[in-house]
Amino acid sequence: MEHPNVLNLPPEIQRLLKTLPSPIALELEDHLLEEYSRHLRDGETPERALQLTAERFGELLEIAPACAAVAPSRWWLRREAPVDFKLVVVGWMILSVFMASRICFASTPSHTSIVACLLTGLSCACLGAGFLRRSGTIVWASIAFALGTAVISFFVPIRQDIADFIVSGCALEPILLEVIAVFSVLSMATAWKEARARKQLALTYSG
């Protein structure tokens, strides 16, 4: 978003406006134009309307410290997570516990199964942390882990020798791996959507 440059306001006010996050400046610009238009409709000359508007605008000097106090906390990332994202977080938590329990019961756990379990756990942890801390970066990391889980779950059972190994060593049926892979892809899409929404929100407020 571009910083507004409305009306012929005093330079010190314009400088102050440029220090504000652009969405706040845009909001105030909208407010100022409404006020300016109202004075014009009331029959004021453009000069007088500008003067009256600028008088009200002068009070903006108080807004700078108030906005500065709000901005560093990155409160704009604290948006409510959508229902599908919450479901994905819960789904990964259940999956992590399930994977860990299967590996615990396997007679000879394979390296693949341990890696898959770790990826599932990390994805779950990242999504959970992203959900609690409202951070976009952590959600992007979970997408990477979910991708790893999906790749392993999709392609490992294709090879019969590995599939047999998984059934015995990983205590997971190949069909179950396919289910996990589909869930990974779906959750990746949801997490991707959420991460993009948060990134957009952060960009909007950082200007």
Binding site: P23, D30, E35, E59, E80
Partner: protein, 125 residues
């Protein structure tokens, strides 16, 4: 005598609400206005003036940090839309979770109002 009183009333300036009282009442007022429906900064400020017959005059500098704080607290949500002229405009709406806060604020203000009313009624009678 009566005429003099009326003239005096007309000459008296409007009572302006103090900064402290404005700040204390801002949450209840903003949430109350947004309970009427979705709105934006300028319209909220205008509605306050209209309801108070211009006695409560909010400055731009006061209203926007309040709106953003309430948004940060999850009491209201915002979306970017367009004005009638096609300009970008930020619209605010109340969240269901804010209704409890509004109810508490209303109760507190009613208590204060009742206390003062009883006190001043006693003093005048």
């Amino acid at each position: 005598m009566r005429l003099a009183y009326i003239v005096q009333l007309c000459i008296l300036p409007l009572v302006k609400i103090s900064k402290e009282l404005n700040a204390a009442s801002s949450t209840a007022i903003v949430l109350g206005i947004l309970q009427e429906g979705e709105s934006y900064g300028y319209a909220i400020a205008q509605r306050v003036r209209e309801l108070s017959h211009d006695e409560v005059q909010w400055t731009d500098g006061m209203l926007y940090p309040i709106l953003h704080r309430l948004e940060g607290d999850g009491l209201i949500s915002a979306r970017w839309g367009e004005s009638e002229t096609g300009r970008k405009r930020k619209y605010y709406q109340i969240e269901p979770s804010a209704l409890k806060t509004l109810k508490e604020e209303r109760h507190q203000w009613n208590v204060v109002h009742n206390v003062l009313q009883q006190l001043w009624n006693t003093q005048t009678s």
